[in-house]
């Protein structure tokens, strides 16, 4: 065995072979799909566009959640595995408020007041959960080996899931539908559902706000300082505990907002388990974009959303794989592994990987 593994060359060879195989498969599959005869299930250009927009929409929700991962990772170098549950906490709690608003006619009567209110409420709930989580579970672990907070986060993830299951029950709830989000608008020949535009725009606004906060404000500067070097930041008179708490609060806020935005776009399936998969996906997105980088998380989210929406139909159908949509996660996670292999710093992130990963 050792003779053949004498150096890295086997590894390099395998990785390069992998690269070639995957590129060939992707192109071969896409070629086959696109050249299908029209009567054998070929997807039209318009439909591709729809899928692309759907992907972007889903991707913006991933991006909002991913920001929470990336902010926390940037500062504490820990994977807050429970972040998906923070998203769930906001979305699940707010569904009751939204239902009530709908019942009294407020939601459809004054949607421009009601929707921001819902977003703020949900963000607030998630923020509280995030801050409590940090205070109770994570703060005592500062400086512990990295595995310790990770395991804690896994525990917190279970704890939160089943706390909310206990509080609100195990059934599925749905957000009410809002009339102004129905229908679609035509933009240069393509029709785009209003709900998608709503998601996209709200996500952009939130992300823009975050970017401004991190880059332009004092607290943002403090965050960046803490992420560079905690000790030096402390010497500069920055209250580390506050900055970390603020970071968690910010991540929670975005996740809670994402919960409502997601709920108004895809109203169904609100239950205690709803955060787990978006959580893992959003983490994937954060890594894809370059963990620790704010714009990276945004790009990573959009990228992952689009890949998931288009990948199965484009590649796997062409390769003749039955049930391609079942394997959309395989595409997502293969992407993740490929990015980690070929570009471990992610699409744009680079600061952290050299130094710390």
């Amino acid at each position: 065995m050792s003779r053949y593994l004498d150096d890295f060359s086997l590894v390099d060879f395998t990785i390069n072979a992998l690269r070639v195989v995957i590129i060939v498969l992707v192109f071969w599959g896409a070629f086959n799909t696109l050249t299908l005869p029209a009567d054998a299930g070929r997807i039209t250009g318009e439909q591709w566009f729809d899928l692309f927009v759907a992907g972007l929409t889903q991707g913006s929700i991933y991006a909002l959640i991913a920001l929470g991962y990336t902010l926390v990772y940037g500062i504490l170098l820990m994977i807050n595995f429970a972040h998906g549950e923070i998203f769930m906490a906001g979305a699940f709690t707010t569904v009751f408020l939204a239902t009530w608003m709908d019942k009294i006619g407020f939601l459809n009567g004054y949607p421009f007041v009601a929707i921001p209110l819902l977003i703020i409420f949900s963000g607030f709930i998630s923020m509280i959960i995030a801050v409590l989580l940090e205070r109770i579970a994570y703060r005592p672990l500062r400086g512990a080996p990295r595995l310790v907070p990770l395991i804690t986060a896994i525990g917190a993830s279970f704890f939160l899931q089943y706390t909310f299951r206990g509080l609100y029950g195990s059934g599925f709830k749905s957000y009410p539908t809002v009339d102004i989000l129905k229908g679609s608008v035509a933009i240069s020949g393509f029709s785009i559902p209003i709900a998608r535009i709503f998601v996209f725009v709200s996500a952009l606004v939130l992300m823009g706000g975050l970017y401004w906060l991190v880059e332009r404000t004092k607290i943002g500067k403090a965050m960046r300082a803490v992420s560079e070097d905690k000790e030096v930041a402390r010497l500069m008179g920055i209250d580390i505990n506050f900055v970390i708490m603020f970071t968690f609060a910010l991540g929670g806020l975005l996740a809670g907002a994402a919960g409502v935005i997601n709920g108004l776009y895809r109203p169904q399936g609100v239950n205690f388990f709803m955060g787990f998969r978006p959580g893992i996906k959003a983490f994937t997105a954060a890594v894809l974009g370059g963990i620790g980088s704010v714009p990276g998380a945004m790009l990573g989210g959009l990228f992952l959303g689009v890949i998931e929406a288009i990948g199965p139909n484009l590649v796997m159908t062409g390769l003749g794989i039955p049930g391609p949509n079942q394997l959309q996660d395989v595409i997502a996670f293969t992407m993740l592994v490929l990015v980690l292999i070929f570009r471990p710093q992610g699409i744009i992130g680079e600061r952290l990987t050299e130094k710390k990963a």
Binding site: L5, V11, F158, G166, T284, L340
Partner: protein
């Protein structure tokens, strides 16, 4: 005018706030503890735990688990507060403070109770229901005033009792706590205890102590008294008593084992009435063990009276060897002591121990955080399923004369899992830390998706899974029950353990540790890091494959939903909870995380909740696990100056 009054008031509020928020003030502490206890109590109610626990009677017709749990937060808070303020305050003040904590702890619950009379919050909080109301108000749902009064009174009393207990002399306190805990544990686990006891005692006899798996009042009192007494008897007597019990268990197991083998049944005397059995296989061995151990303990003290300092070391020499023999004996007959249902649990624990030892090679020794261990488990299970199934998907089901059995497939499963481990390791060799974790997590998900996929369904059954996996056969016996499968897993664990220990103490083990500590330096020492990591992944994968194969044979069917990320997390968590890098720790971790949830049926709704809480608590309070590895323990004892939780041997290289 008004502004002055307002200012005045504000001033008062401020000074009051100061009094409360100043951490050095006892008021702060009292309020805080009362508040915490109150929130906990409310939480337990809102998530439905009280309701669920109300169905479990700790003592038949006397007290349910919910009524017990109701008082625990208050009691604990008062106890802790008393511990803290007793230095500065008089005993009277302490008792008053504790009572106030008790009263405070009722408030959050009462608030929700009152809100509920005005607004229907049940649409949101599903457990604000009749059952909860009844528990909280002690069945006075319709006379809320009385109910609230009772709640306040009883919680106040609980607080007071907490402080009283805290102020008792230490030995009394310890014995009372031990007695209560013993009663509570046996009361909650009475079903498990009953399962073991029914192997020897007749039902009618057991009915005197348990009624339908619930402790009776007299036996509960008996247990309490027994628990208290156990603290007061000398150490040696206590040890001897436990030893006697263990010997009796071994004898009982041996008897059941012999009874289970048809040809051997006749050689041992048994009786229809059960008395002879109890005497021969329980009482006699117990007395023998107890007396023998007592003799050993006290006899050796007499002979060593002169050299008092070396007493401890010399006198424990013989008992330790005896302990070892008895431990091995009890491991060998364990399934016949606990019966089939618990044997099933033991096999499950064993499967996870096997995986734990394997994953420990990657995580504990080599520091490679693998969150996709389920991959190997799935590969082992599916290899066994495809190769041995007699159903339509079995690879060899239609070929006449080709006999593929469990034993032949085990090595194949092992090699297949190693191959899988190898293949999945190659692309991730250069990743470190969190990236590795997340990439392996991705692999685990990919395998899960592939297992259920339509694409692979023609080979491995897809959503419909694989059935008709025959049980292993050995020398003409079919090992179909968990009692027999236990031995397969025992042997597998033993072999794996030996391999793991040998590797650990070898050049390879040192290479892994060096990589764990500092990958760059390890490479500068002449270690081929890539190769050593590959080896760690591959060897680690091997036991996962064997565990998967045994799992498939045990269950008899393989469905894709058995191979979710939960398995990976379970295995990783049990390593950590047990104590990273510690082999006994893995067993302890598996018992706590895999075994206990199986035993505590009432908790099934809350198993993951408690699992999560346990992980958080462990990481915050005992990050080195329940049974730390030897290196770590040496550290804990040897070096006080190093900060705790700093640089455990796990991920120090980061």
């Amino acid at each position: 005018m008004t502004s002055i009054a307002a200012k005045n008031q504000q001033g008062q509020v401020q000074s009051l706030w100061k009094l409360i928020s100043d951490e050095s003030q006892p008021y702060h502490h009292i309020l805080r503890m009362g508040f915490l206890a109150g929130i906990t109590l409310l939480f337990l109610g809102l998530i439905g735990m009280l309701e669920a626990f109300n169905e479990r009677e700790v003592i038949r017709d006397v007290v349910t688990l919910a009524q017990f749990v109701l008082f625990v937060p208050t009691f604990a808070a008062a106890y802790m507060a008393a511990q803290r303020i007793r230095e500065e305050q008089s005993i009277g003040m302490v008792l008053v403070a504790a009572t106030i904590i008790g009263l405070l702890s009722a408030i959050p619950t009462i608030v929700i109770l009152l809100i509920n009379t005005q607004v229907n919050i049940r649409d949101m909080f599903v457990h604000v229901n009749r059952d909860w109301l009844e528990i909280i108000t002690f069945d006075n749902r319709n006379q809320l005033g009385l109910g609230i009064g009772l709640l306040l009174g009883s919680l106040g009393l609980a607080g007071l009792l907490g402080a009283v207990l805290q102020n008792l002399p230490q030995k009394i306190r310890r014995s009372v706590i031990f007695g209560l805990s013993l009663m509570l544990v046996i009361g909650v686990m009475s079903e498990t205890v009953g399962l073991i006891m029914q192997e020897i005692f007749t039902d009618d006899f057991l009915d005197n102590f348990f009624k339908r798996d619930t402790l009776l009042l007299n036996s509960a009192i008996g247990l309490f008294v027994f628990g208290v007494a156990l603290i007061w008897v000398p150490d040696k007597v206590r040890r001897s008593f436990v030893f006697g019990l263990v010997v009796a268990m071994v004898a009982l197991g041996l008897r059941n084992l012999l009874l289970a083998i048809d040809s051997l049944t006749s050689i041992i005397p048994t009786s229809e009435e059960g008395f002879l059995d109890v005497f021969l296989y329980f009482l006699l061995p117990f007395v023998a063990g107890f007396a023998g151990r007592l003799y050993l303990e006290y006899g050796s003290r007499d002979s060593n009276k002169a050299k008092t300092d070396t007493k401890a070391t010399t006198s424990t020499g013989r008992p330790i060897r005896v302990d070892l023999i008895v431990s091995i004996a009890i491991l060998l007959v364990a399934p016949w002591i606990v019966g089939r249902a618990l044997s099933d649990v033991m096999v499950t624990i064993g499967i996870f121990v096997l995986m734990g030892i394997g994953l420990n090679v990657a995580v504990g020794l080599a520091g490679l955080l693998d969150l996709g261990y389920v991959t190997n488990y799935a590969v082992g299970a599916y290899v066994l399923a495809v190769m041995t199934s007699t159903g339509p998907l079995g690879l060899f089901n239609s070929q006449e004369g080709v006999i593929v059995n469990f034993w032949m497939v085990i090595p194949v499963a092992l090699l297949a899992a190693m191959l899988a481990g190898f293949v999945f390791a190659v692309p991730v060799l250069k990743m470190r830390g969190d990236y590795l974790a997340i990439a392996t997590l991705g692999f685990g998900e990919i395998i899960g998706r592939l297992a259920v996929s339509d694409a692979l369904a023609p080979i491995i059954g897809g959503a419909q899974g694989m059935s008709f996996i025959p049980k292993p056969e050995l020398l003409g016996f079919t090992l179909k029950d968990p009692e027999q499968l236990y031995y397969i897993i025992l042997v597998a664990c033993a072999i794996t353990l030996i391999v793991s220990i040998r590797l650990n103490n070898s050049r390879t083990g040192r290479q892994w540790m060096a990589i764990r500590e500092d990958e760059d330096v390890a490479s500068a020492m002449g270690i081929n890091v890539a190769q050593a990591k590959l080896l760690a992944f591959t060897i680690s994968a091997a036991t996962g494959g064997v565990a998967g194969a045994i799992f498939a044979a045990k269950v008899g069917t393989v469905f894709p939903n058995s191979f979710s990320v939960i398995v990976s997390i379970n295995v990783l968590s049990l390593i950590i909870v047990g104590g990273m890098g510690s082999n006994p720790g893995i067993v302890v971790g598996a018992i706590v995380l895999i075994g206990l949830p199986e035993l505590l049926r009432e908790f099934s709704d809350f198993r993951w909740l408690m699992y999560g809480a346990l992980l958080i608590w462990m990481m915050n309070n005992r990050p080195d696990g329940l049974w730390p590895s030897q290196v770590r323990r040496r550290e804990l004892i040897g070096d006080d100056s190093s900060p705790p939780a700093d640089e455990s041997p796990m991920m120090a290289s980061e």
